[in-house]
Symmetry: C2
Subunit: 90 residues, 2 copies
């Protein structure tokens, strides 16, 4: 089993309304030194399997087809082998 972290970010040059809202809001909270704010998504998942190359190919396919919009977003991901431990209770 692999633990996967996916990072989805708006492509450079694509308008990021959420980032713009945060950037306008921060000075009112006393944080005027923050800029270039971009808001993306951080997705964590677990994928069954023992072949890292296959898991990487599967996750790339998930990103292209569902998790990211490749027209306007970039994505990258890390995979990390994990023991198939009993799931934590929620």
């Amino acid at each position: 089993m692999y633990r996967v972290s996916v990072y989805v970010t708006p492509k450079a040059g694509v308008v990021d309304p959420q980032g713009a809202v945060v950037e306008r809001a921060l000075p009112a909270l006393g944080h005027s030194g923050a800029h270039d704010i971009r808001v993306g998504r951080y997705i964590t998942l677990e994928v069954d399997g023992s072949d890292a190359e296959k898991v990487k190919a599967d996750v790339d396919d998930m990103c292209r087809r569902l998790l990211a919009n490749p027209i306007i977003e970039d994505y990258r991901f890390d995979i990390d082998a994990a023991e198939a431990a009993p799931r934590e209770g929620a």
Copy 2:
């Protein structure tokens, strides 16, 4: 100047509707081995300043007051010293 990456995730035990939707959609795309999907936010920003401790305290305050909802979300962040290079053209 520091480059900051903020990772916001739904707390364990908090219902994550986006994650549930992704988990239901993936089998139709041929990915039945993915589970425990959680969708959070990945926020990148740049913060002016030369004192890492002050920048950390500032970012922690931004997270608690604007970027995350501490009732239902966890957050963590990395900061990374960056040269004050000319900003990239978009």
